[in-house]
Subunit: 638 residues, 2 copies
């Protein structure tokens, strides 16, 4: 049996280290630092003079002061081109997205004027393009119309929208200031993919109204209600002229998108929407198609954003409702913006300070809510165009903002004859990219549970509503976290041949068990949420092993080695579980041996006196050493 | 510098194992099994005939059928003595606890008659003593009186109490049937210690009413309101005769408790309450103290439990309220019962099936709600007495139940002259043990965060209410779990002298870093909740290390080894984070190397194609092997 292979291979025994005790304050400080200041934001302030610190502080709030100093004409050329491109893309999108939020078209444009300016001054992403986005518009529209009917009572509806926007901004800023940015990490990537995909389908379905020229349309957003609306109006409610305009331009837009896959021609899909709008508007104006039932935009207020400070509900029932809606919309907007920021930052290899970003986004929405804007955030599609058009800094947002400003001042009346169908076509072609089926396939391959979260959110949105989808996404994400902490993995270890390394025998079937010794690895910190499970699971491993031995002429199991390398921490419940394990084993005449407890664990084993109870000589640096200790002590069964 | 010490010490390289692919169904099955059936409840059913399986199934639901077969007269002697002892303890307690729940005294006795009988048939703990308990009575009373005033509207109040009891039972049974028992593990041991201690103080304070003979007393339970009540009534509201009776018997009870510390005299504190009641009642009857303002029990309904099926609200507003209160009270009752069951099971070394227990407790409360009982559960103090009196099986509960039955039939009228003060004294001496300051001190020593949870719950109950305390306990417990998963620990590793083992250099200050190579260990599964943090933290470690090198003539850092032993799982977000880390490092001309990824991780690294991107030759079984690979490739800086 090669008995000697398990013993005396590790000639030198090193003691398990007990780290020097830290005082309570230092320990607390370290925890707070790691939790809230894990990015070490004060690093540049270290060892600086007072005045220098002040300047650095101002620059931290307004990064434009720092990057503005190195701004050059060459950079401006890139920003100008990018800014013009995203402006041409955003103007038709804004008008359409405002409709998703049940607001008049100019509010979309307003939201592309003020917020980008504020962001350019305070934000730290160089590539993000700020403005209204489809998913947040839809979410806001759905949540708001649950409270107020936007058609019967448009003024109150708009006021509630500004109130929600205000609190969305406040939420974002507070998360940033109190460094709670990590809260958005609780929405898993998979859930976001599903949610976005579902929202895109929902948005596209909503566009069937404008696309088919249906007059009576459901207010619900689930696929069943929408399809019923569509088919019940099939006989008389569709308008063929509208369909022809919509379908031909949608084809054009999708074709433009296809061409844009060649990265040099990225500008084709970027300007296609504006060209479509111009052509379609001109066509309707010439042919008078609006008199044949083709719905048109009709009227957009001229002039820039009016003040809306007095429109925000500062008291009463709607204050609470606006707050609630604002928190939800603000969080989703934040999730999208931060994801965009991180994506492009890693492409160009610069750092984004998540918490600082949140403050910038929050400030921009607070100011926006006072200047007739609704919730703005970073747009995936426009940011990608911005990046490909060669933007260098946030100046491209300023350029876009100026173009929108000029549009508001001079061009809005020209949109009068723009058919709604073309706006629908633009929205459909914009949101179609959010259905990221490749990501879904990858998620399926990598992690099945993630896929359930993804599909749950997707079907929740498509068959329920955006709220239901969001709720499902958040619930499944949390369920996964809770599952992770209640049911940590455990494994039986064996010795890998020709080494002193002990590994999971399921991963390494060639690894051999040590007769008479069971080696279990616990793969998580042992906390109250799992301590009982861990104890019982270890005992069950032991039972399994004992069952295998029955009838076999092996040595009776006399040692249980718990490999604690992955056990990073333990709490009082965990210590209790170990004590109970120890007592149970004692009754069965099996000795408990620990291998490689980490610094926190060994410290707590000592303070709780468990190390003494167990015997300090039963705690080893490695599994190999523990086996070397146990092996010579094994006695053969009678 | 001893260069050779880092290289070529591990002559044999073993490949990182990729476990055989499991099919989807098997994988899913394994997860479900580990989550819901981790205790493998079907193990005894394996390889049995059909009829045997049926019998085993019946026995699983009614364990009495299995242990009853081996029941002997010797066991009965133990159970009889234990049952009589806990009966003498429970009768006065029941009358007092019913008051805490704002119910008439007989309901306490009812709840000690039916539920123990049901439990004896279905339960699997041999030591638990079933009946009303102080904390659940207080909780139920507080929650119920928020809805209905027990004095103005006693009938509706009682009906709501039965409704809540019904749903408490349903909640418990459902948790058991669907094997969701692990949900109660989310309340940490520390939070329970704090909550129980706070509740005990609150209950003791409430007793000042009966103890001091105060007529006008606050309905609130926080310490400030109670103290104001007590002192504002100091001049005229106290009754000295009451105080004399209460104080003398409290002294007697506490003295009896002191004597009981000698384990042979455990029966002294167990029968002291009943003796006090008899003596005090006799004394009041003789002296006519009730006419001098000593409040007495006055009246207890004679006869056994009437049916209360028709009293439960099966519809309407109170149904929902009863449901909500029942869920909370049921969970707390469950937590207490399971904790007791586990404690005594580990003392006598038998196994408790948590989920089966929940079904038994649930069934007992459902039946109880239909027979005029309120929420019953396991009592800490009575279970301890039961254990010490030598109970052998749940028959001791049946004995107790029969004694309570006889009491209800014949003895209740004798309680007429029992002074309330003696009941208060009994309750105070009973709950005083719940203030477990030694546990609190141990918690402080072991885990500071746990201590915060403990104190939060304690002060929440004492200065707020039981609900607030409970909310704080649950919130802090959850916050700890979330913190654990968002901010996993990471460590820099160094080589322990004279070994090939790499360990945390903070725990082992003697460990030496490998120049030019940074070795980081990540101490948690990498999931969406922490993937971004992990990536940034690793990069920050790298920065720290690079800073230390500046001015030093070391080799430039060229390799980053991530030790993945504790990384038990990874999801799509985690893979993305690794990809981003890889790209960031590539730009800095640093090579990423992985050591010892587990079976799930290596599988996902392959399916996501990251293993190919990185290069399979950069994944090693141990850190030592990874270092051996890197070391010869290091180039000196110019």
């Amino acid at each position: 049996m090669g008995e000697r292979s398990f013993s005396s291979q590790v000639p030198y025994h090193h003691k398990v280290g007990v780290p020097p005790r830290q005082n309570l304050f230092k320990e607390f400080q370290a925890t707070v630092k790691e939790t809230f200041f894990s990015d070490d934001p004060l690093r540049p302030f270290k060892d600086q003079t007072k005045s220098r610190k002040f300047i650095l502080g101002i620059e931290a709030i307004f990064p434009i002061l720092s990057w503005g100093r190195n701004y050059s004409f060459k950079k401006f050329r890139g920003d100008l081109i990018a800014g013009l491109t995203i402006a041409s893309l955003c103007i038709p999108q804004d008008i359409g997205y405002a409709k998703l939020a049940n607001l008049a078209p100019q509010y979309g444009l307003y939201s592309s004027f003020v917020p980008p300016l504020i962001y350019a001054v305070m934000g730290s992403s160089r590539d993000i393009a700020i403005g209204p986005v489809a998913v947040v518009s839809l979410l806001l529209g759905t949540l708001l119309q649950n409270e107020i009917d936007p058609i019967a009572n448009p003024t109150d509806y708009r006021r509630l929208a500004f109130t929600a926007t205000f609190f969305a901004g406040i939420t974002q800023a507070i998360l940033g200031v109190f460094r709670l940015g990590f809260l958005i990490d609780f929405l898993s990537h998979a859930a976001i993919v599903g949610f976005m995909g579902g929202a895109a389908i929902t948005i596209a379905l909503q566009q069937l109204k404008g696309f088919l020229g249906i007059v009576k349309f459901t207010k619900k957003s689930d696929i069943i209600s929408v399809m019923q609306s569509v088919f019940s109006s099939a006989h008389h409610g569709w308008n063929w002229q509208t369909i022809v305009i919509g379908a031909s331009f949608l084809t054009f837009l999708l074709f433009a998108k296809h061409i844009g896959k060649n990265k040099k021609l990225f500008w084709v899909p970027a300007i296609a929407p504006l060209i479509s709008v111009i052509l379609a508007t001109f066509f309707v104006y010439i042919t008078g198609a609006d008199k044949k039932g083709v719905a048109i935009v009709k009227h957009i207020d001229k002039g820039i954003n009016p003040s809306s400070v007095k429109e925000i509900y500062w008291s009463g029932d709607y204050l609470a409702k606006g707050f609630r809606i604002g928190v939800v919309a603000g969080m989703i907007a934040l999730t999208e913006a931060i994801a965009i920021g991180r994506t492009f930052a890693s492409k160009k290899d610069y750092q984004i300070d998540g918490n600082k970003e949140m403050v910038a986004l929050g400030a921009m929405n607070v100011v926006g809510s006072m200047t007739s804007c609704y919730v703005a955030t970073g747009s995936f599609s426009r940011s990608a165009v911005n990046y490909m058009a060669g933007c260098e800094t946030a100046v491209s947002n300023i350029v876009m903002s100026i173009v929108v400003f000029l549009t508001l001042l001079f061009i809005t009346p020209l949109f009068k004859y723009t058919p709604n169908a073309i706006l629908s076509a633009i929205i459909i072609s914009a949101v179609i990219n959010l259905v990221d089926y490749q990501a879904a396939i990858l998620i399926w391959k990598i992690d099945k549970f993630d896929f359930v979260a993804c599909m749950g959110a997707f079907f929740g949105v498509v068959f329920g509503s955006v709220e239901i989808g969001l709720l499902i996404a958040v619930s499944i994400s949390f369920a996964k976290i809770l599952l992770q902490v209640t049911r940590p993995r455990t494994a039986i270890l064996g010795k890998i041949p020709r080494t002193t390394v002990y590994r999971n025998i399921q991963q390494y079937p060639e690894a051999t068990k040590v007769p008479g010794v069971v080696i279990v690895r616990v793969d998580s910190a042992i906390y109250f949420s799992n301590s009982n499970y861990v104890k019982e699971r270890i005992l069950r491993w032991l039972m399994d092993e004992e069952e295998q031995i029955i009838g076999d002429y092996h040595t009776r199991i006399q040692f249980l080695i718990v490999e604690m390398s992955p056990v990073t921490d333990i709490d009082t419940s965990g210590i209790h579980a170990l004590e109970e394990l120890y007592k149970s084993l004692q009754k069965r005449d099996i000795q408990l041996v620990l291998a490689n407890p980490g610094s926190l664990v060994i410290d707590k084993l000592h303070t709780s006196n468990f190390a003494n109870l167990l015997g300090e000589d039963k705690i080893f640096l490695t599994v190999a050493e523990a086996v070397t200790y146990c092996y010579p002590k094994l006695t053969e069964d009678p």
